[in-house]
């Protein structure tokens, strides 16, 4: 459903990605692992239209999206949950969630999705009227994922959902990721925490200084000696 073909991205003169290709099939969790500064977030931004690749193409449902502005990419069914959550701190929880609804969805559908989000994250239902900025880090991450889900996306891009969270909260977030996937949600997951993401993903890519250096079934990559040494600390 998502095909990234040979894209290169630079910030001004500084290149961040070289000829990166990847594909995500319907219903899968695909993980991208790589250390800090490898270009993972840049790749996510290129997919969601926040930056445009200098070369290469990105196709979604057989349509090119690499030149589209971000709101059009979002309307095609790609939801980006960015690194650092980036919820709207001065809006309430419910307002944050409603921001995620696309204008093309009807009232009734929006209510269904909202119920589903509250089901996944009961704490958000409890704190509806609270300002987003007053939530804890873990709750903000849930809010960011919830906001992404509100658009009823075909694919959910998750950028470092475990960053800065306590281990129990990380487990909870990953449980939700698995649960979403079992409901049929396609997910592209970016993580520095390679072990966790390889455990939930079916397929994975390894990104090192802007290039894909390795790819394969997640279960195989967990046993790969290079991965073990570089990312799993063994």
């Amino acid at each position: 459903m998502l095909e990234v073909k040979q894209i290169s991205v630079s910030y001004g003169l500084a290149p961040a990605l070289w000829e990166v290709s990847l594909s995500v099939r319907d219903g899968k969790i695909v993980a991208i692992v790589g250390s800090n500064g490898a270009g993972k977030s840049t790749l996510m931004k290129a997919i969601s239209g926040l930056i445009h690749p200098g070369e290469g193409t990105i196709e979604f449902d057989q349509r090119r999206i690499d030149h589209l502005p971000p709101h059009q990419v979002a309307r095609m069914g790609i939801a980006h949950v960015p690194e650092g959550r980036r919820i709207f701190p001065h809006l309430t929880v419910i307002e944050n969630l409603k921001m995620g609804v696309l204008p093309i969805k009807g009232q009734k559908r929006a209510q269904e999705i909202l119920n589903n989000v509250f089901n996944l994250f009961p704490i958000l239902a409890e704190r509806q009227r609270q300002l987003g900025g007053t939530l804890s880090g873990g709750q903000q991450q849930m809010l960011a994922i919830g906001r992404g889900l509100m658009s009823d996306p075909k694919i959910l891009l998750l950028d470092e959902p475990s960053l800065g969270l306590a281990p129990i909260i990380v487990d909870m977030v990953f449980e939700v990721i698995t649960r979403l996937n079992s409901q049929g949600q396609t997910i592209l997951l970016v993580e520095q925490n390679a072990f966790l993401s390889l455990e939930v993903a079916q397929y994975a890519y390894v990104l090192e200084v802007g290039r894909i250096v390795l790819e394969g079934e997640a279960t195989k990559l967990i046993d790969d000696p290079h991965i073990k040494k570089a990312y799993l600390g063994e």
């Binding site: 969601s48 239209g49 926040l50 502005p69 971000p70 709101h71 979002a74 309307r75 939801a79 980006h80 960015p82 980036r86 709207f88 701190p89 001065h90 809006l91 307002e95 409603k98 921001m99 995620g100 696309l102 204008p103 906001r147 992404g148 658009s151």
Partner: protein
Amino acid sequence: MYLWLLAAGLTLVFGVLGVLNFAHGSLFMLGAYAAFTFYGKLNINFGLSILLSLISVGIIGAILERFFIRRIYDLDLPYQLILTFGFILIFDDLVKMVWGGVAMIPPMPGFLEGNLTVLGRPYPFYNIFIIFAGLAVALVLWLILEKTWWGRMIRASASDREMAGAIGINIPFLFTTVFVLSAMLAALGGALGTPVRVVAPGIGTAMIIQAFVITVIGGLGNLKGAFVGALIVGILTSFGILLFPIFELFIIFVVMAIVLMVKPEGLFGK
């Protein structure tokens, strides 16, 4: 209260678009000229003239944003200054060409004539009308921003433009609507003022300086701050004119200096 209308538009555009629009006073002036033409020249009724002025200046605002202001969102302040200052000169000359350089005072609408006696002194009915108009605008703006879907989008993109785009908000279009709203607020200020103040080229520039002082006092980009700032400046200038007429402008700059010394980010700034 004219100042509040000006400061509100200035604040919206700065807070949401990140642009300091020096040509905002020109939109005020255009509103005044438009109202003068519809009301004073074409004898259309006062309320309808104001509405027509808002629509005309709103359209000018849309064109300005769409073709010019849009290009400078990501540029530094000096570029914004050059572009918007350029528009001040263009609009001033345009107005001179169309309406001539002479100051013109349009007549007062009949139903707003007369005085009200407040504490034993006569107080023009029109001033009271203006005060209520200003309060009404404040209320409507608050309702829009806090209670509507449009307002929620505006607040979201003011706090994180990139993220707002990523979740599906059409930022360029939203910004055009915000700029149009701001232009209409300026035009409303200009149009409402026509029966009591001289309509002349350059009236916008005189007002915009005070409006800037207000936004700085209140905290740049903060609407509540702009409202309180406008009240403070309005009250001070009234007293200033009574007590020391020559120092009217001087006083508000002193207030600004004091506020900036005590709280550099402005009264309501973050």
